[in-house]
Symmetry: C2
Subunit: 317 residues, 2 copies
Amino acid sequence: MLAVHLENGVVSMREAPLPQRPAGFALLRLMVGGICNTDLELQRGYYGFAGTPGHEFVAEVVEAGTRSLVGRRVVGEINLACGQCDCCRQGLGRHCPRRTVLGIVGHPGAFAEYFTLPERNLHALPEGMPLDRAVFTEPLAAACEILDQVAIPRHEPVAVLGDGKLGLLIALVLDAHGYPVHQFGRHPEKLRIAAAAGVATELAGAKLPTAAYNWVVDATGSADGLRSAASMARPRGTVILKSTVHGAVAVDTAPIIVREITLVGSRCGRFEAALPLLEHALIPVEEMIAARYPLREAAHAFAHAAQPGVLKVLLEG
Amino acid sequence: MLAVHLENGVVSMREAPLPQRPAGFALLRLMVGGICNTDLELQRGYYGFAGTPGHEFVAEVVEAGTRSLVGRRVVGEINLACGQCDCCRQGLGRHCPRRTVLGIVGHPGAFAEYFTLPERNLHALPEGMPLDRAVFTEPLAAACEILDQVAIPRHEPVAVLGDGKLGLLIALVLDAHGYPVHQFGRHPEKLRIAAAAGVATELAGAKLPTAAYNWVVDATGSADGLRSAASMARPRGTVILKSTVHGAVAVDTAPIIVREITLVGSRCGRFEAALPLLEHALIPVEEMIAARYPLREAAHAFAHAAQPGVLKVLLEG
């Protein structure tokens, strides 16, 4: 079968053997995959990754122990948890210390004709859910994770910093849940997607409001984001950290302590929170699709996705 | 009157006029003051401070609009809030953006024969409360602040990093509230005070436990503290930041985000939370007294307080 191979920053295609399907796993055939910023970071050399990337996908179940799954279209949770440890027993397999992660850590990813995942990671899609929408389940779940972690009071304004893919999904999710969202970004064409859904958007110049919000989300992906977000928060306010910035960031903790700001690290989320939003078409994710490529043109697709200002690039199986 | 003067790192005594008492203020006579790490930081040049320091005190009310206050022994909240703004209306005068702060920002401090504070900042002491105990109200309130900010479930172990004055008070407060406390420090003689009260103490060597606690308090006062505390926290755990470290600290935010750690900045607290603990002698604060000096020997007192490993140094009016 054909599989994307990523090593030393180079995306290439390889012929690979069909993956073995261990007990409890399903063999999956890629229908559509989404290139995530994490994939681009793997290409830039973070985590010393070498192998098949890809963790946003819709696939068809080719083989599975559970007969009713075969032939179904599925999306899948990306953390392969041990199921035994404290984290797993608390329903937090996403934090299992022994986990592998699809296309990121220790488990070959979805950018291949075929790949495997534990059956318990899979969610069968409702009939008629468009592939182009379903492929956003994983990043949308990451946006929904915020509301799993913190209880934002009804009607509280939330500031979202950043208008990349994740920033847009976060703004749209919060808006869909009824929060007044103020999104600050640098790209008019991206902010337009959020604005069309009812989000109040603003082109962020040099001057951001200070001490103005009880709830701020940093989705800038930049080291400056945390500093800006903290200064936008009111005393006793909360900043949700959605930007994985690699390496040490110089943070002045004094104002965070003096103003008693709470910082909440936030990562992957439950698919159960994202799927109903997609099923009821509450989030216009399709408008974030910038381009689509066949799987064998993954190198071009990665290059396209890495261009500044480009939103979601899809790979079609 | 005699007043301590701090400028360019030098502590000296000055003759100063008796302070004016504006409407709503009380004129106070110092009985005993406590030297805090913040005072030592002012001496080291942070905040560009020049003037009379001192914010931990017990005083006698000499003059006040409220006749019943005159002659009473009082402690006092250190933030002089405007009383009008959003923060003040929410009962968070400690975060009033227009506040001055006794002996720290814009209001002469308590290390003088006489000083002033708004009457609404004062708490009259119960009859018979020893001065040596009451002088710990302000730092004890800062320790209590943690339980005002976060709801730690009953019986949850809490790790406290650091065995300085604030670290000890935090461990003792959490212990008094029934939490199993594990305190990690570097000074056997300080840890002994917490251990005698029932806190499990450990001399922190190179190796601290990792991913071991849902609740961790950093009271080390060092840039390393935040890193250590974050690595001790379990996924989805909470780290309370009690160490004001000056200047930017290099923080690797990636593990904080990946492990979804919550960081809570924490500063001053309500005196109402601290006073009952002192009244019922639930916290052995007197054991933290290292030395006492008359006010006029403030320079010696500051020098003593700045020596490594020294706990609370008192100034007697």
